[in-house]
Symmetry: C2
Subunit: 316 residues, 2 copies
Amino acid sequence: MNIKAVIAVHGGAGSAGYFINEEHRQRYLNGLINAVNAGLEVAKQGNALDMVTEAVTTMEYDGSYDAGKGSVLNLYGEIEQDAGIMWGKDLSVGAVASVKHVINTIRLARLVMEKTDHVLITGNGAEELAKQFGLWVPYVELINENKINRYKSLVRNLRSRYEKNADLAKGFGLTGTVGAVALDRDGNLAAATSTGGTILKWPGRVGDSPLPGAGYWAENGICAVSATGIGEFIIRAMASLRVVTLVKNGIRLGDAVKQVVDYVTKMFGSGNIGLIAVDSSGNVASSFNTEVMGRAWSREGMNKVVVAHHPNDPFP
Amino acid sequence: MNIKAVIAVHGGAGSAGYFINEEHRQRYLNGLINAVNAGLEVAKQGNALDMVTEAVTTMEYDGSYDAGKGSVLNLYGEIEQDAGIMWGKDLSVGAVASVKHVINTIRLARLVMEKTDHVLITGNGAEELAKQFGLWVPYVELINENKINRYKSLVRNLRSRYEKNADLAKGFGLTGTVGAVALDRDGNLAAATSTGGTILKWPGRVGDSPLPGAGYWAENGICAVSATGIGEFIIRAMASLRVVTLVKNGIRLGDAVKQVVDYVTKMFGSGNIGLIAVDSSGNVASSFNTEVMGRAWSREGMNKVVVAHHPNDPFP
């Protein structure tokens, strides 16, 4: 085959107020470019699974996102990350949820897929695997003064214990889940999503990111999708699989992601979802109903990375 | 409206070898009849959500199933239950995973749906909610000598740590996840699934049962579905949502469940899935590719409960 590899990534959908200043925003956007370049670099020897793993790994170590090193704190002031990855060739899935002592969470999800015959492993069981695979890190690697101060200032506004965590997170300018979708030279598709979840979430809360069908899906011959936003609505819409089903029924990729975002808006209101996708022909698409969504993409031989943030920024 | 309420339940799909003797098998089948009767009883005042909650609650307290009191032990010799519930009227979902100190796990899942704005809560975070809602029980309520002896005899055969847990579970005659689907007098649909998961599973392993789209789905105007089997394959097939999508496209309910079981068999081999479903017209259907699957159903005014176990037993 003579396919040019394609990769698209996102750094989360949310509100512009998430960014402290322009420097913060630029660091966030530059990280997306780095992720795309990392994904394309590995496309020379690797497959789509390697491409999305590398791209997401880059963002997990960056610290500018709500994933890996940058993961936000939950209601108890703790890190709890979720991640999932899917291989479109055989519909293999690997995912972890509520993981504390890991930076490279997407790699742990991939090891669940490749080394166990389970799909989703949570909490201590996932950390036990992280130890066996050399991915376990001391907790202090994921905590810093910024996070502690932010937690302390936000938790004062918390009027309830468990009733309104997602609403609060939305108010705080939720942004920063990361994801990647890729088509490789052999025509295989893969998708990956990683997150620290919503800030001040109830401990053990799992969003869409580790759940196939919700936060991601990849199916050869159709498309690969990664989602971001308020996970509870994305799950109830089964947003990623919904895109795949539309494309399978002949809807163009760009129309499919838009239709799914419109469906979510109609069912659950706006400000809660963003999607990126690549299909088996290498078309890229994105759609969101939040103020902003950081996105970047490139194709082998294109020699540039297209990056976008606001709704009117040029992007497929 | 003048709709007669309908409920169908299952007690898990698996192999006939699961049953120690005929008395064990009869207790298992009688529990299904009790669950249907409990669901129909509450249909007089309650809605479909109440019907599936009551039916599954009955089976969780019964002890004959791999759910609630009867939950099997994981690789570390511990209880870890998963459950999920969905309300077809507004696509609300509540679910819990890796829960130890609860018998009535489906009720905890329902409280996640009704009292929090999260969808899925795992581990300690879920148990903290169980305490607040009075559902927490001492661990000894879920452990007995039979389970301990079975664990000790099986763990000797365990050659690997994490590689083949699902295969082993299949070999041990996996059966006993419980589920219910219901149509109420107002035409609303609901689905619920609860399980102790696969025996000797890796700690923190989550199967299909708490994951919407995989282990259950309910959508008014279409149908409600509950799945059982080897969760990893059910997740990768998104089996419950797949049934709903087929029915939405005009496929008859009975054909839809059969097509999805055939898809799973083709993709992943046999012996791994069973489905029950009810549609918005009150039709009931089941399909499975395992040796046996305990099922029961009834409709208001029918004055009997139909129960089935083997593939040739009469059942819709």
